[in-house]
């Protein structure tokens, strides 16, 4: 349980910082091309807690999957889980692109960065979380 919580916090801190750097800094100009699709800055700030809850949910469910199925595999198993989850998510992103008029490059940047993000999340979780049997000598 202790390692579950540590893995959750470490991965959460990473995706928070990554998400801010990517969406708040690097892709700022791309988002600015479609202002009609986004809330105003002040509205986003008033709903910021939903971003925190959303990121927490992603990481909580990721660690749960890892802990109940991939545990014991270490960093490589964590990375494998991250890759499988993210490529399926790229499929979902393509389906969303089919119904929402996002710029194509936003989907490309989002997918590439999402893959890097989930590989690192998987590595963090795999490095920190160890199942009880693996810890017992």
């Amino acid at each position: 349980m202790k390692r579950f919580i540590i893995a959750f916090i470490a991965a959460y801190v990473f995706i928070f910082v990554w998400g801010w750097l990517l969406n708040g800094v690097l892709l700022k100009d791309v988002y600015a091309q479609t202002p009609n699709l986004w809330r105003s800055q002040s509205e986003m700030m008033s709903l910021f807690h939903w971003i925190l809850i959303g990121q927490a949910l992603v990481i909580f469910a990721f660690v749960m999957i890892y802990a109940s199925g991939f545990a014991g595999g270490g960093v490589i198993a964590g990375i494998r889980l991250g890759i499988l989850l993210e490529i399926a998510a790229i499929g979902m992103r393509l389906a969303i692109y089919a119904i929402q008029p996002f710029p194509g490059k936003l989907i490309v940047y989002g997918s590439v960065s999402g893959l890097i993000e989930m590989v690192i999340v998987g590595a963090i979780v795999g490095a920190i979380y160890k199942p009880a049997s693996a810890r017992t000598p």
Binding site: G54, A61, L85, M92, A98
Partner: protein
Amino acid sequence: MNWKKFFTAFMAAFIFLFVFGFLWYGTLMRGAHEEVQALFRTKPDFPWLILGHIVMAFFFTMLCVRFVPAGGLGASATLGILVGLVYAGPHLISFAVQPLTTKILGGWIAGAVIQFAVAGAIVGAIYKPSSPATSRH
């Protein structure tokens, strides 16, 4: 890996994900989507929609097969619920940055969890690895 059963499970998952998506998001939630028409295309871009579902179904099936190597409806459905929660997180983030309604947010989250839980159950019911006894003879 039993590739024949994998392919059957993938096809079944793809058909389910696509039909469920059409019924849930395209039919039941149509009214909710029409409340914020500016956020959606007038007509879905079908090639991207189909490709997205193929990618989603393939890698979700791969995840189920790796996560629940023995197959089984219950375990795969549980995995599907967790995967649905991983994908529900970005919906919460979308709600914070896009002018979506709470009705859409609730529908998307419920849709993701139900969709992947049932898809997991389908994959788990179809995919069974070759038993050692079978493969020896």
